[in-house]
Symmetry: C2
Subunit: 207 residues, 2 copies
Amino acid sequence: MKREEKHTRCPEKKCFNPGNLLYPLPAVMVTCGDMERSNIITVAWAGTVCSDPAMVSISIRPERYSHGIISSTGEFAVNLVTRKLIRATDLCGVISGRNTDKFRETGLTKAQAFKVSCPVIAESPVSIECRVQKIVKLGTHDMFLARVLCLDVSEAVIDRTGKFLLNSSGLAVYSHGEYFSLGEKLGSFGYSIRKKPKKKTDKKRRG
Amino acid sequence: MKREEKHTRCPEKKCFNPGNLLYPLPAVMVTCGDMERSNIITVAWAGTVCSDPAMVSISIRPERYSHGIISSTGEFAVNLVTRKLIRATDLCGVISGRNTDKFRETGLTKAQAFKVSCPVIAESPVSIECRVQKIVKLGTHDMFLARVLCLDVSEAVIDRTGKFLLNSSGLAVYSHGEYFSLGEKLGSFGYSIRKKPKKKTDKKRRG
């Protein structure tokens, strides 16, 4: 009986108060400011929100140092992170840029972007240059809705035909308090409806 | 010289037109409708946007069947996916619910939610029940900004002390056209500034 009371609706599941359990998420290093005064903030509340125009959103607490910078400049870059960059990624999420030069602290290379005034991280395989379109106040976090202006892609993740080899670049991911590398490939988009290639019938032997 | 021309700004990177390269992302199965007429749509443009109140966003093309349902009911559930659910996840992203009952097609179990009228997927380790607060038109996609009403967590991912063992549940992730399992654990939040536990000095031997 007690069991039935606990699981009135979905027998396999228990009901918990609202919280943040949508995982895994990207853990990205967001750069902002300009080439002289810049900052890096690690953000997990980040994602793509529109394909065309390409748009991303990042959510930042108003009390964070980068919040003021991005609100004022209207620009930022999202730098994807690989396993090699995870220690720096973690560090840029737990110390404040108010009293630390995070580029110096992490040893990351500050590189000039193509279209925005803020720097990008040279070691990141992909930097996504963005311009803020709207800031939406939500509660603990403000959401910065932004247009992607261009993509800075490392030559190391582009093959000879121009194809992005992003998934071979060692991308890392954040899930419920922990960082992980990508594991086994489980399939590619659309594989569930793709016809298996026909097996070659051994005509010669039959003929 | 040619090299310099190509790489005027960030020597390691080439500039590409705007596109969607923010990866890895969660690939989640979003359920909507009610217990009689429901649908499942796979969404990669999904993420957390606020910690408190807990809020998520999902972006859906207006022409998708689920767009109309969620716009009308104002409710949906985000069902996290594991490696076992990846084939179903892919299928729910490439076929339309207009002419297919996706629960029947995938064999997934339709379970009643706690607070919303739409079903959740029993096989998912976590279902996040949501109520839409705002629909933001962006372009190809509309963004549904939503409050998390409650979390339906599978007993299999809760230990005896009530801790969520989400990262042991086989979560999967979507990155640039491919699905992956989580790989090696690289660290936990804050590890970069955590002091290493002091080694026990071998006082006895010295003394």
